[in-house]
Symmetry: C2
Subunit: 816 residues, 2 copies
C-alpha cells in the first residue's frame, strides 16, 4: 500500500459544480485507499477459478500489485472528461481498455471461461419500493398475492407434468418401434440355432447403428448449434441458479424446447443416459416462465404476475419447478421435494417447502392421470408410477446383512468416486481437444456407435441362453439360442436404460450369467462415463442406477455361488442396494435418493434402513476422494457457487484480505454524464452511493447506499433527472424498473447524452439505502455467513467513519 | 423527540481521566438521542405480549413518553458515582430502582409473565476467539472436531433410544398389569350375562379410579413441585429453544428425570395423552447434556467436548436430539428428521440435516434391537417398529375417493381448529383460576377421574357385544355380554390410547357400533382437550390421532350404512385418513406427519397421496381460524418466538419505529467501577462498546463493538484489568469465558471492588468487534430478515456517523 501513488487527476469539465482538480493522494493513505474506476472481483470476465490464483493469505491486499502482473492499463489514453484516481504499483491504469482493468487475485484470466453474474436475491428496498409497499399494506393485497402464488405453483405442477408426459410417451413409442424393428430384423437375418455365423448379425447391427446415429446426431446438432446450455443433465445449472448465479439463457423457452427434443433423441438413440435430469431442468424453465407472466422470446407480456418479476421471487418458483420436475420424472412427490431441498435449494423457509410439496403432488397426480389414460387404464386407481418397477413381495432383511449393505455402500463409494474422477478427466480432455462444434456432434455419434458395437459384440460372443417363459422382456430375442430360449444378453441391450434397471431389479433369480453381468457392468460403466459430458441432453441418474444394479446383482450372484445356502441373497434386493450405493457414490445425495428409490419401487418403509446404510457408506467413502458429480461439474465450469460453509482456506482471514478495491462510487447527486461515461467504461454491477464528498473524491465519501447497474441504465433511458423531475415523477414507480426485468438493456442502448449532458441524477430515490456493511477486520467465516444467509450480491466493507474500504462479491469467496 | 431534555449529568469521580461534568444536552438533538442507562426491550421483565401494548405504528419512537406511562423512575436517588444522561418526557429516570426502568411498548407489564432471554446464536468473534481459530487452523484440528461431532450425534441417537425404550417398556408393563387386574376384577365381580346390575361394576370402577388417581397424582405432584417446565408435551419449549429463546431449565438432567417419570405415570394413569412429545423433549435434553461433556447438576466436568460449549453449537445438537426423540417415539427415521425440519428447526443447513438423519437412524436401530430383545424376537429381523400397527394388505384407493379425503381433511381442519380454540380457552381459565400448586395436582386427578367415570358410564350403558374370535384385544372383557362375546366398548377403554389407535386402524370391519364410536369420539375429544394443559407430562399426538381415527372410522361406517354397495369404505383406511386429518387440523404439520404415519403403519408410498390431500385440506381450513396447537401454546406463554416471516403489522415500518433507546453504552476503555455499578443497576445483556467519547457522553461515541453481560461479569470476576495485565494475559483465552457456560454467574457473585476501584478494563480484546448494524430508515421486514437469518440477539441501529441510535432485540419483532 505504501508505495501506492495517485497518478492521474483530471478535471471533470462537465460537472462544473465540483472541485475540478484532484490533488494527488499522499502515499501511505492505506485506510482510504479507495479509488474510483477500479475494478472489483465480481465483474471480472475472468473467473477466480483460473489457474495461478494468488492465495489471499499469501498476497493479502497487495496481491494485485505483484510485479509479475502484466500492466493491463499500460497506455495512458484516458477519456477526456472522466475524473480518475488511478492507482497501481508501477503501471498507469486505463479504463478505456476493453480488456479487464484489474485482475484481482487471478493473474491468468482465461478469456474463454464464461463471465457469470450474480442474481439479485437481495430485495432493493428503495423509496419507490417502500412507496409501493405502503400502498399495498392492506390485508386484501397480501392475501391476493398469496393466492396468486399458490395458483402459479399449481400451474407449475400441471404443466411440468404434461411436458414430462409428452417426453415419456414419445420416448416410449419411438423406443418400442426401434427395438421391435431390430427384433424383427434379427429374427429375419439370423438363422435359428445355427452355428454362430457373424455375417448374419451384420444387417441388424447396421440398422441398429443407423437408428442410433440418426437421432443422436440430430440431438447433438440441436444442442450444439441452437442452445449449448442444454447439454448435460441441467441439474448443475439449476443448482447454480438457485445458489444465486446467473446462468445465461438457462430458463428460456427455447432452452426448454431444445432440451426436450435433445433428451428424446438421445434416449431413443440409445445413449447411456436418462431423462430425469432434463426433466428437472424442464420444470425449472416452466416455473420461471409461468411466474413471470410474459415471454421475452415471443415478445408477449400477459400483464399478469407483475409483482413476481424479480430474482428473489423467481428463485422460489424455480425451486418448486425443479421439485415438480423430479416428481414427474420419478413419480415420487416426497422424493421430489426432498431432492429440491437436499440438492438444489440454497435458501429455504417453511412456506417454500410447503408450496414445493404441493407443486410436486399436483405434478405426480397429473402425470398419473395422463399416463393412466395413455396406457388405457380406465379403472382410475391411483397406482403410483413406480418407474423402476414395483417390488411385489416385500423386501425383508436380517441384521447380519447390514454389514453387507455397508460393504456394498463402500464399493459404490469407490466406484462412484472413480467414475467422477474419470468423467472429469474425460471432460477436460474433451474441452481441450474438441473445440469445434462439428467435432462435438461427431463425438456424440462416435460414442453412440461405440455403445452399439460393444453391445453387438457382447451379444455375439456371449452365449447366455435362458428358457422362455421365465423371460422378463416383451420381445425375447432368440438369436443363436435354441427354440424356447431367449438371449439374455440381447434382453439387456434391446431396451431403454430405464427398462434395463427395471429388469435387473425384478428379473427372477437365474436370469443372467455371471459373465454377462460382469461384462455388462464394465461396458456400461465406461459408456456412461464417456456419455456424460457429451453435447447432448441427458441425465446421469438412470445410467448410474443401472451400473449399480448390475454390479449389485452380480455380487449377490457371486456370493450365492460361493455360499449356496445363503438364501437371503435375493438378486433383486441386492440390485436395488447396489443401485443405491452407486447413486450415492456418484451423486452424494442420501435422503432424497433413498426416498426416490423407495417411491419408484414401492418398497416398504422398513427397507429405508438398508438403503440409507448403503447410501451413507457410499457418500462417506466417496467424499473422501472427491465431490459429487454435480458439484464437480459446477467447479469444472468455473461457476462461482457458494458452498454451505466457508472454504477451509479462508479460516483465519479477515475481510481486509479478500476485499476488492478500489471501488467505483457515485455521488448521491451526480452528473448524468459521469454516470453514462462510467457505465460505458466499466462493467461492474453495483456502485456504492456516497455523499459528503469533497469535489470528485467520490471514493472518500460516506456510504449511503448502493445502486445497481441495471437501475442506472433505466434512469438514463427514461431520463429520470432532477431537472425534468416534474415530468416523470408522478408516473415513476418501482414498476418502471421491474418492466425491463430480466433482460436489462445494455448501456449501448442509451443514446448519447447531448442536450442532457449537464443534467443531474438524484439517486436518493432509486438506490438501495441499506446495503449490508461489514468492517475490514471482520473474519471471513463470519462475513461468509452473512453473505450466504442473506443471499447478497455486494457486501460493502466500510471503515469506522462509514467510508468505503472495499467491496466483496461472490467470487471473493471462491478459492482455487 | 423534540421535547426530550437531558436532565441529569453527574460527575464520574472515579474515572479521573475523563471529562468530569456533562453539559445538559440540547433539545432537538434527535439524531443523537442516545443516552446511557436506558433500558431496552429485550431485557424487560415484562413481555411484549402483555395486554395494552401500544402499536408501534401509532406511537412511533415516542411511545415510552406517553403521559399515562407510570413514572417508573420517579425518585432521583442516583448512585453517587455513575454518569447518567437520563432522559424522559416529564419524569426523572433512576437506575437505582430494582423495578424495570423503561417499559417500552408495553404499558401494563404483567409481573407474572416469565422474563425470557435470548440465546447467543451469534458467534462472538473477538480477539480471543480469533486467536484460538488461528491456533486451530490445521486440517487435523477441524477434522478432529468433525469426527467428535459425529460421535456426539451417534451417542445422542443411542442414548435417546435407550431412554425411549425404558419409558416404553415401563409403560407397557405397568399398563398390562393394570388392565389385567381390572379385567380380572370385572370377571370376578360382574355376573355373566345377567341383567345389567350396576352395583357389580362398582368395585372394578373403584379399582380403576384408584389406579388412575395414584399415578396421576404422583406425576402431577412431581411436575408441579419439582420441575414445572416439564408440564405438557415439551415440543413448544424445544421449538422455542431452537428459535433462540432461552427457556430456563429446559435442558437439564433433572428436567429429563421428571419428564420421564411424569410421562410414565400419566400414560399408565390413563390420561388422554401420549408419550411422543415428552420423548422429543427427552432427546433434546440428552443432546444438550452429551454435547457439553459436563453436568452442572452433578457438578461434574468430563473435560471433553469443550469446543462445543456455546449456544450456537448446542442448538444443532438439540435439533438432532429432537429428531432422535421423534424417531424413537415412532420408529420413523425419515419422519423424525422431517419433523425436526418442519416443526422445530429455525436454522438449517445441509450438513445439519445429514447429521440429524444419522442420529435418527441410529436411534431407530437401537430401539429396534432393544425392543426385539425385550419381546423375545431372536431372529434378528429388522421389522420396523410400526407403533400404530402395520397394515398387512396394501391400502388402495380410487380417484373418486380423493374428494372424500379432502372432505375428511376439511372436517379435520374444523375439528382441529375448534379443539385448539377450546383448549386455549380452558388453559386461560386454568391459569386464571387455579394459581395454587395443590390446585393443579387436584385438577389433574379430577380430569383422570372424569375419564374413568365417563368410560365406565359408556361401558355400562352401551350394549355393544361382538362375537369372540374376531376380537382384536388381548383381554376380551365379557362384562354383560353372552358367552363367546366380548364388550367392544370396554375393548376401546381397557388399553393405552396408543393401543386404541392401533385397534381403530386394524380392527376388522364391524368391530364397533356406530353409537359406541360416536360417543367415544365426543368423550375423547373433550377429555383430550381438558388434558392438554394439565400440569402433567403428556404429548398431544396420540390423543389427536385417536380422536381422528375414531371419527374417520365412524364416518366410513355411517357412509357404508347409507350406501352398502360402496365397498371401498375400508374402515381402517378411513380411520387412518381421519387420524391424519385430525392431526393436520391440530398440529398443522403436513410432510412430517404424513411420513410418520406412513412409517408407523407401513403403508405403501402410493398411499402418501391421500394422506397429504387430507393433511393439506386440514391445514388450510385450520389456518383460516387459528394457529397450530404448539404455536398457540408458545403465544399463550408469551414466548418471544420469531416467526418465519415478519408479522403483517410491521409492514411499512422502519427500524426507527421499533428500536429501543436510549442505549446503555460502555467505553472501549472504561473503569471497572462504572461497569460494576452499571451491571448492578440494570440487567441488559448486551452493551454497545464505543470509542471517540468526549468525557462521559458514552452514548455519543462511535460504535466499535458490543459486549455481553456474561462477558463483563467474567472480566470482573477474573480481574482482567489493564493494570494487572501481566498476570492474566498469558493464560487468558476464549476458554476462560467458555468455562462458565451455560450458567453464568450473576453480578452478585462479584465481590465488591475495593482495591481495584480505579482499575480500567480494556474491552478491545473481549468485545465482539463486528456486531450487525442497520440504519434507522431500514424497513422492518428487511431487518427482520437479517435478524432471523443470522440468529441475532442484538441488532444495533446506527446513524450515518456510526453513532448509536437504538438497539433492536427479539421482542421488538413480537407484536401483540
Amino acid at each position: 500500500m505504501d508505495d501506492r501513488k495517485a497518478l492521474i487527476a483530471l478535471n471533470d469539465e462537465l460537472s462544473a459544480d465540483e472541485d475540478p482538480i484532484l490533488l494527488p493522494k499522499e502515499a501511505g493513505q492505506a485506510s482510504k485507499a479507495v479509488q474510483d474506476f477500479g475494478r472489483y472481483q465480481s465483474e471480472e470476465p475472468s473467473t477466480s477459478a483460473a489457474a495461478g490464483r494468488v492465495a489471499p493469505h499469501i498476497s493479502g491486499n497487495n496481491h494485485f500489485l505483484d510485479d509479475d502482473q502484466p500492466p493491463l492499463l499500460g497506455d495512458n489514453s484516458l477519456p477526456p472528461n472522466i475524473p480518475i484516481n488511478g492507482s497501481a504499483g508501477s503501471s498507469n491504469r486505463n479504463i478505456n481498455s476493453s480488456e479487464p482493468i484489474f485482475h484481482l487475485r487471478s493473474r491468468t484470466a482465461a478469456a474463454s471461461t464464461p463471465n457469470y453474474e450474480s442474481l439479485d436475491y437481495e430485495v432493493c428496498e428503495n423509496t419507490l419500493f417502500q412507496d409501493e409497499q405502503r400502498k399495498r399494506l392492506t390485508e386484501r393485497f397480501s392475501l391476493r398475492k398469496d393466492i396468486i402464488r399458490w395458483i402459479i405453483f399449481i400451474q407449475i405442477g400441471i404443466i411440468t407434468a404434461l411436458i414430462a408426459c409428452t417426453i415419456d410417451i414419445i420416448i416410449e413409442e419411438l423406443s418400442e418401434r426401434k427395438y421391435t424393428f431390430l427384433y424383427n430384423s434379427v429374427k429375419k437375418n439370423v438363422p435359428l440355432s445355427d452355428a454362430a455365423d457373424g455375417s448374419d448379425l451384420l444387417i441388424p447391427y447396421l440398422y441398429w447403428l443407423l437408428f442410433s446415429i440418426l437421432p443422436v446426431a440430430f440431438g447433438a446438432a440441436m444442442v450444439t448449434y441452437i442452445e449449448p446450455i442444454t447439454a448435460g443433465s441441467g441439474i448443475p445449472q439449476v443448482k447454480s441458479y438457485l445458489n444465486g448465479v446467473k446462468i445465461p439463457r438457462i430458463v428460456r423457452i427455447k432452452t426448454l424446447a431444445v432440451k426436450a427434443i435433445g433428451v428424446i433423441t438421445s434416449v431413443v438413440g440409445g445413449l447411456a443416459g436418462g431423462k430425469e435430469g432434463p426433466m428437472i431442468h424442464a420444470g425449472a424453465v416452466v416455473a420461471a416462465g409461468i411466474s413471470q407472466g410474459k415471454s421475452t422470446t415471443f415478445v408477449k407480456d400477459f400483464r399478469i404476475f407483475k409483482a413476481f418479476r424479480d430474482d428473489h421471487e423467481k428463485r422460489d418458483f424455480v425451486l418448486g419447478g425443479g421439485a415438480a420436475g423430479v416428481s414427474a420424472a420419478f413419480g415420487a412427490p416426497i422424493g421430489g421435494m426432498l431432492f429440491s431441498l437436499e440438492e438444489a435449494a440454497s435458501f429455504w423457509n417453511q412456506n417454500l417447502i410447503w408450496r414445493t410439496l404441493v407443486a410436486s403432488i399436483i405434478s405426480v397426480f397429473t402425470l398419473n392421470i395422463v399416463l393412466s389414460a395413455y396406457h388405457g387404464l380406465n379403472d382410475f386407481t391411483f397406482t403410483g408410477l413406480f418407474n423402476l418397477g414395483k417390488f411385489d413381495t416385500p423386501l425383508k432383511f436380517d441384521y447380519f446383512e447390514l454389514p453387507i449393505f455397508m460393504l456394498l455402500g463402500v464399493t459404490g463409494g469407490l466406484l462412484g468416486a472413480a467414475w467422477n474422477s474419470l468423467n472429469t478427466k474425460i471432460n477436460k480432455f474433451r474441452k481441450r481437444f474438441i473445440p469445434w462444434k462439428i467435432g462435438k456432434v461427431i463425438e456424440a455419434v462416435v460414442v453412440a456407435m461405440m455403445g452399439v458395437t460393444l453391445a453387438c459384440l457382447m451379444i455375439y460372443f456371449i452365449n447366455d441362453c435362458r428358457p422362455l417363459g421365465n423371460d422378463p422382456t416383451n420381445n425375447p430375442v432368440q438369436l443363436f439360442c435354441e427354440d424356447n430360449e431367449y438371449n439374455a444378453v440381447a434382453a439387456l441391450w434391446f431396451q431403454t436404460p430405464e427398462a434395463t434397471v427395471r429388469s435387473l431389479f425384478h428379473d427372477p433369480p437365474g436370469s443372467h450369467k455371471i459373465l454377462t453381468l460382469a461384462l455388462f457392468t464394465v461396458v456400461y460403466y465406461v459408456l456412461s462415463c464417456a456419455t456424460f459430458g457429451l453435447n447432448v441432453s441427458l441425465g446421469v441418474f438412470i445410467p448410474t442406477a443401472l451400473v449399480g444394479a448390475a454390479w449389485g446383482r452380480l455380487l449377490a450372484m457371486l456370493t450365492y455361488y460361493a455360499f449356496p445356502q445363503a438364501e437371503f441373497l435375493h438378486p433383486g434386493k441386492y440390485a436395488l442396494i447396489g443401485a443405491a450405493a452407486n447413486l450415492g457414490g456418484v451423486l452424494r445425495m442420501t435422503i432424497s435418493l433413498s426416498v426416490i428409490l423407495m417411491e419408484t419401487t414401492g418398497v416398504e418403509t422398513s427397507f429405508f434402513f438398508p438403503l440409507i446404510i448403503a447410501l451413507i457408506s457410499a457418500k462417506w467413502v466417496g467424499d473422501y476422494f472427491n465431490e459429487g458429480i454435480y458439484d464437480t461439474q459446477i467447479q469444472v465450469n468455473h461457476v462461482p457457487m457458494l458452498t454451505w460453509e466457508p472454504l477451509p482456506q479462508y479460516k483465519g482471514l479477515t475481510a481486509r484480505e479478500i476485499l476488492s478495491s478500489p471501488v467505483v462510487c457515485i455521488k448521491l447527486r451526480d452528473s448524468a454524464h459521469y454516470i453514462y461515461q462510467m457505465l460505458k467504461k466499466c462493467d461492474h454491477n453495483g456502485f456504492p452511493v456516497v455523499d459528503d464528498v469533497s469535489g470528485d473524491r467520490r471514493s472518500e465519501g460516506r456510504v449511503c447506499g448502493i445502486i445497481l447497474r441495471s437501475q442506472l441504465i433505466v434512469i438514463l433511458l427514461k431520463s429520470l433527472y432532477v431537472e425534468n423531475k416534474r415530468f416523470w415523477l408522478p408516473e415513476t414507480s418501482i414498476q418502471t424498473f421491474r418492466d425491463v426485468y430480466p433482460r436489462y438493456p445494455s448501456i449501448k442502448s442509451v443514446r448519447k447524452l447531448d442536450n442532457k449532458i449537464n443534467y443531474t441524477v438524484d439517486l436518493s430515490m432509486f438506490m438501495n439505502p441499506s446495503p449490508i456493511r461489514v468492517n475490514p477486520h471482520d473474519s471471513v467465516p463470519r462475513i461468509f455467513q452473512i453473505f450466504r444467509a442473506l443471499g447478497l450480491r455486494h457486501l460493502l466493507v466500510i471503515n469506522n467513519e462509514n467510508r468505503i474500504a472495499g467491496i466483496i462479491t461472490r467470487r471473493d469467496f471462491i478459492y482455487k
